[in-house]
Amino acid sequence: MLLIPCPYCGERAEGEFRYGGEAHFRRPENHLEATDDAWADYLFMRKNPKGWHRERWLHLAGCKRWFYVVRHTVTHKIASAYKVGDAHPDLPA
């Protein structure tokens, strides 16, 4: 069970959160004109890196805020957590 540093509430157990997958993938600009391929890419394709990963998390049983976490998918180490609109912290080396 991860210990997730909610940027609003502090460290809380993973059970209070809901996972939201890859962060910062873009909805195509002028999406109604997007090609089928570009739209399918947005709908279905997500990164699944072995290593550091920017992720979306929702503190559902707490402040109910979505935020971002930089987590290592192998070691589960969490390098940082930041709010929507914050500058994206660098990925650890």
Binding site: L43, L58, K64, V84
Partner: protein, 992 residues
């Protein structure tokens, strides 16, 4: 019952048992005596009983082999009836008065077991024998499997519900110390003195670990005295919690550790709780789990009476039990001589120490020789005598194995070196490194939030254990933010400790040489696996089941790796090691479940009117976490008959339904209309204040996600309803868009599902029931269909929505939840002259199916578009909304799409099962091409026939066609494809 033995093997003195507190217990129906402080294993040994089980595969006689959780043989069943626990280790069972234990995996008896014929047939039962032997005939496996599973295996699962109670506790620690041996006690003291919040867990009844049976001193006093002092100091520290009888089973992410605490046994009864699962979140973990002794590979190394040397020593010193009267110690390392000396000092005759090494220059072998013990250097054990108990061993020079000498003995204490208990380190992601001097894995790179002290780190000397613990405990406290407390000064002189070990195998003369006692895996099995191509350690493990028993190879892993190393001609580190995964030791389902069983397994959400439903004899059904009234059967009435009656009332008179579980979201702010427009695919801009509209919500993939009615309470204020099951998901979904994408939309969402109680009046007489209770004008002209009014009902402030899910005149009356029951009672009272009838979810479903109204999750499954449902006219062409782009993706239209249709069975009495598959022709070759399935199906009391909704490929082009539904346990049923509206297609009744 009278004791059949007088503890003949109890030593005259010594041990930490309470000789003033005798306990009587039953093993295989015979009564025996032991003392408080015994384990079942030590008490059995005190009574001369080694043979306690039959092995997994060959049914060979097996004896008590170890001291604790590492025990591979002594699995017994305890308790009777519902309280049976199978596969308990005799070595970890605290003896209590009246304890009942039985051996397992034997028939008719432990001493004479017919299954032992498997041992004679063992040449046929080598590694992979299932796969080779039981391949034909096809289908024969079912019978073979049954036979194999009966013959092999361990205990029986209890057949009755577990009568015991299990608890869960949560705890936080600055420093969690696992193990209360020398290193753990020192670590806990150092961290505790620094002021850290410390939890010290240890699986034994008494703290101290190896210190309880060491002859050495700490600060000039016997080690057990120091243990008592240290424990007393820990107990005085306010932020130190000491958990005895508690085993750390698994380390998970970020310092999360699961431990199980066993209750103190209650004589002849049940403890208030039996086991307690601790979930500890620790900033720092100090692992002081010590080491587990391993065996040596030699011919016939499984005879009862053979045990780990350290176990024999602990039984003598700690429990005052001679595991035998005449012992042979078989060694490849110096530590074995401590066993020899301790046994001799405790009064056990030591016939010989057989050592595989030639060079015995260490301090301990020297002390043994000085004590007059016979030491055979450069010798191995090459055989033995005795079947259910060892009678003698055959020793021979390792360079000349046929030059045997017989040494009579009834105890063979084997010491093949020590394995640091690195399981928790591995759980935390640690990668162990092989130390060829110790022939053992030791910690490699550090694991998250974890340090490893003493023997668990491969540092076996007592001085090192104490020093490691003191240093690492203080460091852990410092990392957790505490400055060091008073220093621990610990002086523990002991003979020079040489940890190097000799060969792990004795020369072979062709006998069975086990590397995994529990799973009956031999050296030959592993060599066979390699010769058949299973060269990876993971493959060899699975092919032979080596290390896969309940003991997870705690005593045999290194032996197997050495065999593989030899067979593959690769050094051990290159062969690799298998992965340790939690739990370290088996855990009961009861401990995992805790109190979350039965009614407490899931929270039950009840509506404000729930008590009324219960008193009215409602039949409830779970809908997610909600319990909802399914129907209100009268005495003797079936559920279906009740639902039929309720449907007729709601069609012909008036019915009342509890709709409180509907999801409700209050949406407020200048951006409210923008938000609503973006999340529904149909138009809402034109929705006027005081009116409501049915909305269809799509996912970004264009598939129907949820639906519900949304009312406009003000220019910037909406009341959205969702499906009961979809409420949380819709709320999270919209919040996601608001918080991460639409930061410019100024609006607040509040989940108000539980703030409002909802009673739905439905039927032609609904107006007559509601009228007398309200100040709202209900006339059709001023309060039309899909309008919304605020007013008072039964003098309660209310919101009334004139919407309908039944297709008849209907009012949904929302009141603050605390008034829900009062509203319900007032409506029932007002409706009494009109024959008002409460109806449940079954009637609701029939009513809506008669009208062809969809239920998200029945008629949709995440792959259904609005067009599939025939609702494309609703979809706005003018605005953008979530999912719009997807509606024009390829594959979202055309004849391959499934359409929502109605089905009328040719036989009106036939009600199709939901989920039935649909064929174009009555008989098709298998596998038949399926063109759809039934999504909803009921007997319609209104239509007086079976009706069904279905998703059928290109269904709207099949109107009037006959399709066929082969039923699993019945005939193939013919049905006509019709429009999915069975009742009042003109909506005359709804709008009147």
């Amino acid at each position: 019952m009278s004791p059949s033995s007088n503890q003949d093997y109890r030593l005259a003195q010594g041990g930490r048992i309470d000789r003033e507190a005798p306990l009587r217990f039953l093993f295989d129906g015979h009564a025996y005596d032991g003392f408080a402080g015994d384990t079942l294993a030590s008490a059995l040994l005190a009574n001369g009983i080694h043979l306690v089980s039959r092995s997994f595969k060959y049914h060979r006689p097996r004896g008590i082999y170890a001291l604790g959780v590492e025990e591979p043989n002594a699995l017994v069943e305890t308790g009777i009836g519902a309280g049976i626990e199978p596969n308990a280790r005799a070595t970890t069972i605290e003896l209590s008065d009246g304890l009942i234990a039985n051996s397992q995996n034997r028939w008719p008896s432990l001493r004479f077991d017919l299954g032992a014929v498997a041992d004679l047939a063992s040449p046929l039962l080598s590694a992979g024998f299932y796969y080779k032997t039981f391949m034909s005939p096809a289908g024969g496996w079912k019978i073979y499997e049954w036979l194999i599973r009966r013959a092999a295996g361990v205990g029986r699962a209890p057949e009755l519900p577990d009568p015991d109670r299990y608890e869960h506790s949560y705890a936080h620690a600055d420093v969690l110390v696992v193990g209360a041996g020398p290193a753990g006690l020192a670590a806990a003291l150092a961290a505790g003195r620094a002021g850290a919040r410390v939890i010290l867990v240890d699986d034994q009844v008494e703290p101290g670990g190896q210190l309880l049976n060491t002859p050495y001193t700490i600060n000039g006093r016997p080690a057990p005295d120091w243990v008592a002092e240290a424990t007393a100091e820990l107990d005085r520290l306010p932020d130190v919690r000491r958990l005895a009888r508690t085993l750390a089973l698994g380390v998970y992410d970020h310092g999360y550790v699961a431990c199980v605490e066993r209750a103190i046994p209650v004589a002849q009864g049940r403890a208030r709780w039996r086991e307690r699962l601790w979930r500890v979140r620790a900033k720092e973990i100090v692992v002081a789990t010590g080491a587990i002794e391993r065996a040596i590979i030699f011919d016939g190394n499984d005879r009862p009476g053979t045990m780990l040397a350290s176990a024999a020593r602990a039984y003598a010193v700690r429990y005052g039990v001679a595991a035998g009267k005449r012992a042979v110690v078989f060694a490849n390392n110096d530590d074995a001589y401590r066993t020899a000396l301790d046994l001799a000092n405790a009064g056990v005759e030591v016939a010989a120490v057989v050592d595989l090494r030639h060079d015995l220059s260490g301090a301990l072998p020297g002390m043994a020789r000085e004590r007059g013990l016979r030491v055979l250097a450069g010798h191995g054990i090459v055989g033995g005598r005795g079947r259910t108990r060892i009678k003698a061993v055959e020793a021979a020079p390792i360079d000349d194995p046929s030059n045997r000498q017989i040494i009579e003995c009834d105890l063979l204490a084997v010491s093949g070196g020590w394995n640091p208990a690195l399981h928790l380190y591995a759980h935390a992601g640690g990668k162990a490194a092989y130390d060829s001097g110790l022939a053992a894995f030791v910690p490699g790179a550090p694991a998250d939030r974890m340090t490893i002290a003493g023997a668990a780190a491969g540092r076996f000397a007592l001085t090192d254990c104490l020093a490691d613990g003191a240093r690492l405990g203080a460091e852990a406290a410092r990392r957790a933010g505490f400055s060091a407390g008073p220093a621990l000064v610990l002086d523990a002189p002991e003979p020079e400790h040489d940890s190097r070990i000799g060969p792990v195998a004795s020369p072979s003369r062709g006998g069975k040489r086990f590397v995994d006692l529990h799973n009956d895996v031999t050296e030959a099995d592993l060599r066979l696996a390699v010769s058949e191509g299973y060269r990876s350690v993971e493959h060899a493990k699975r092919y032979t089941t080596w290390g896969m028993g309940p003991d997870q190879g705690k005593t045999g892993n290194i032996l197997g790796l050495n065999v593989l190393s030899d067979a593959l001609n690769q050094p051990v580190p290159q062969v690799g090691t298998t992965t340790f995964r939690p739990p370290y030791h088996p855990i009961s389902f009861g401990a995992l479940a805790g109190r979350e069983v039965g009614d407490l397994s899931v929270p039950t959400r009840k509506t404000p009117m729930d008590s009324w439903h219960a008193e009215a004899g409602a039949l409830f059904e779970p809908v997610g976490q909600w319990r909802r009234a399914k129907a209100y059967p009268k005495p003797g009435e079936s559920m279906h008959a009740a639902a039929d009656r309720e449907v007729r009332a709601a069609r012909e008179g008036v019915g009342l339904f509890d709709a409180s579980t509907l999801g409700k979201i209050d949406i407020r702010g200048p951006g409210a209309e923008t938000l609503i427009e973006r999340v529904y695919c149909n138009n809402f801009t034109s929705l006027k204040q005081g009116h409501a509209r049915y909305g269809l919500m799509l996912g970004e993939d264009g598939m129907v996600k949820d639906d519900g009615v949304t009312a406009r309470l003000g220019p910037d204020h909406f009341h959205m309803t969702t499906t009961t099951g979809g409420a949380a998901g819709v709320y999270v979904w919209i919040e996601d868009w608001l918080q991460t994408e639409w930061l410019d939309v100024e609006v607040f969402l509040t989940s108000v599902t539980e703030q409002w109680a909802v009673a739905t009046l439905s039927g032609p007489k609904a107006r007559q029931v509601l009228g007398p209770l309200t100040d709202v004008d209900l006339s059709a002209a001023t309060f039309p269909f899909m309008a919304f009014r605020e007013g008072r009902v039964a003098n309660i402030p209310a919101r009334i929505f004139r919407v309908s899910f039944s297709g008849d005149l209907s009012y949904e009356i929302n009141v603050p939840a605390r008034h829900g029951l009062a509203l319900w009672q007032a409506l029932m009272e007002s409706g009494r002259p009109h024959g008002i009838t409460p109806y449940g979810t079954e009637a609701l479903h029939i009513l809506r199916a008669e009208k062809g109204y969809i239920v998200v999750g029945h008629e949709t499954d995440g792959t259904i578009t609005p067009a599939d449902l025939g609702m494309e006219a609703m979809v706005s062409k003018k605005k953008d909304f979530l999912g719009r782009r997807s509606l024009t993706r390829s594959g979202m239209s055309g004849p391959e799409r499934k359409h929502l249709v109605g089905l009328m069975t040719k036989d009106p009495a036939r009600v199709l099962p939901i989920g039935a598959q649909i064929l174009e022709r009555p008989s098709e070759a298998r596998p038949a091409p399926m063109i759809g399935h039934v999504t909803s199906s009921y007997h319609s009391p209104t239509m007086k026939r079976g009706i069904a909704m279905a998703l059928v490929k290109n269904g709207r082009a099949r109107m009037g066609d006959t399709v066929y539904l082969p039923l699993l346990d019945g005939p193939t049923v013919a049905a006509e494809v019709v429009k999915p509206v069975f009742y009042d297609p003109e909506n005359a009744r709804r709008d009147g």
